[in-house]
Symmetry: C2
Subunit: 340 residues, 2 copies
DNA sequence: GGGGGGATTGTGACCGCTCACAAGATCCTG
DNA sequence: CAGGATCTTGTGAGCGGTCACAATCCCCCC
């Protein structure tokens, strides 16, 4: 009653399979792990027993001895946003047949929550962690992560000890700024993202450089929080200022809000004011007017992050990933030469 | 050299802690699991040893004996879309301090990929699975899932054996249709989602019922694929037809494309054509004109799905979740009485 | 002052798998 | 046909926890 009780109350284990196939548990293990040197006939026997029993190897037991969980952790700020969501998707798709990906999204990305999440993942035994974010606080937190888990930041260029993959935000912003300047605008305003975000910062920097490179005056910076609502709010300010003829927005959503504010004040886009976005969300082409913007390939970013992480997992001293991805400028109809 | 070798090459294990604290491994286990009946002083000793060693319990070992992985799987169609992303976010936030959530997003959601993902998760030992989708094929696949893992579908009403939480799509569509009819439109056109999606279907049904309930004629159905691009494309068709004065779109993105197509053909919204969306994405309020739409509380949906799943985990015979969430109609400026 | 009861701690088996090693079977070569 | 190399299979020892049970210890009361 003790030994045979295993009967059919609990899921079958390797020994059950072995018994049914008339081999040892080790042979079953060999079949499962594609070891060479198993007679084809024996393999068939085992396979048959496996499917007859509906046997499924126990991941925990396997992990216990191999020390591999085949799990990755992704920590991200609000995965509802287009950027994070796309990167997450890219990562997940790329990892699909090698790793499980566990996710932790946090509404705030302060030092505490990042560290907590890392700790949580460490407890779960993830083999590596990708942090999707560009908030200064988060990246700082990473620098002194207590653990020895491979870790990659994506979305921004992190400070050296931490590996990171990023798009060249500064270059993207410069691209857009130069384009507007080239159209004949005397200067271009910038509606930036929150100053605590590294990529917002990088974009500001690129904008600034392009401006000074062209000898254009640098208007006061206006910043939002990435949302259309904040774009609208800040847009109302900008719209009142008759001197603004061109605005570079740090993302497409804010551009949407800005355009709305502008048009409410009777200023047409692009006739009176040119607007350029950043990201190239799928909807950008259908805005009124279709938005000229800077495309970021988030999917590619996600894939690169995964590559970098995997590299790190297999070689702790792997070199930092290559150059940042250069963004692509997409011309549509929201920017035009200034009214004379 | 054999036993002491453990020295400092490998992470500390429970025995190391026990040894340092001068107690048995079992006592360490007790402290870790908050068992009563551990002398406070002993607990301190153990705690000190734990932090000195930087000990972290091994999840796999624990899982092996407790048979609990504290992991949930979420299977979703393209998590880049607003709906799925929001539900995922809701689920993750709600699960955060109880479960890890592992994700699998697939670009196609046919029977095969769903079943594969379920199998993959089963191998990992997840305690339950949430499927975010409303595609007929996916839901059908769930019906005959080979495993005995608790499973909940979210986003649509699934066929009975499978538990599901959903918003009342039909009611939402009916709400919007009646509103447009009430404005004085003789009938309402519908730009639906792909017919293979259950919620697209439900919305069509709601629209149809509201129409016939009011004795209005039912125009031909036009359908897109949820994207702004498809909305634009279909919109061009609709725009050419002078008889359309009101269109209900199955989601906000398509509404965006539609509005663009309309305005390109010189038909103003809402003066010439009224447009109503579905979802209420954060940007909807900043469209031109601000979009009147049906709000779905995706976050709430995610939370409910989690509740339902947890209920199922602890009691395989738990009752199916309660009534669908009723959507909320949000009036903005994209709909108006028809031009006389 | 001995006995009972609860609090506290320790012992050993076991979860299901992989690894190292050994043993038996098979086959080729001289 | 012996001898060794190679293929194939089996054996037993952990991996790092938890659980069931037993052993102590302390305190209180009759």
């Amino acid at each position: 009653m003790a030994v045979t009780d295993r009967g059919r109350s609990r899921p079958p284990v390797m020994t059950d399979v072995a018994q049914l196939a008339g081999v040892s548990h080790q042979t079953v293990s060999r079949v499962l792990n594609d070891h060479p040197n198993v007679r084809p006939q024996t393999r068939q026997l085992v396979l048959a027993a496996i499917s007859e029993l509906g046997y499924r190897p126990n991941a925990a037991a396997r992990t216990l001895v191999t020390r591999r969980t085949h799990t990755l952790g992704v920590i991200s700020f609000d995965t509802t946003l287009y950027g994070p969501a796309s990167m997450l998707y890219g990562i997940e798709r790329a990892a699909q047949d090698t790793y499980f990906v566990s996710i932790a999204s946090t509404p705030t990305l302060d030092r505490r929550s990042v560290l907590d999440s890392v700790e949580r993942f460490a407890g779960q035994g993830v083999e590596g962690i990708i942090v999707i974010t560009a908030q200064v606080s988060a990246v700082d937190a990473l620098t002194d992560c207590p653990t020895d888990i491979p870790l990659v930041a994506v979305g921004c260029r992190a400070t050296p000890p931490v590996h990171s993959v990023a798009v060249d935000n500064a270059e993207g912003a410069a691209l857009a700024t130069r384009y507007l300047l080239g159209l004949g605008h005397r200067t271009v305003h910038h509606l930036s993202g929150p100053p605590s975000w590294l990529d917002a910062e990088a974009r500001v920097e690129g904008w600034r450089e392009a401006l000074s490179g062209a000898g254009a005056a640098e208007p006061d910076l206006v910043s939002g929080d990435w949302s259309a609502a904040s774009g609208y709010e800040m847009g109302q300010q900008l719209a009142r200022d008759g001197s603004v003829t061109a605005v570079l927005c740090a993302n497409d959503h804010m551009a949407l809000g800005l355009v709305r504010a502008l048009s409410e004040q009777g200023r047409r886009v692009p006739e009176d004011v040119s607007v350029v976005g950043f990201d190239d969300i799928p909807e950008a082409a259908y805005f009124l007017p279709p938005l000229t913007t800077v495309r970021q390939d988030f999917g590619e970013l996600g894939r690169r992050a995964l590559d970098a992480l995997v590299g790190l997992i297999f070689d702790r001293d792997a070199a930092a990933p290559a150059d940042p991805v250069v963004p692509q400028f997409v011309v549509r109809s929201s920017a035009a030469p200034p009214a004379t």
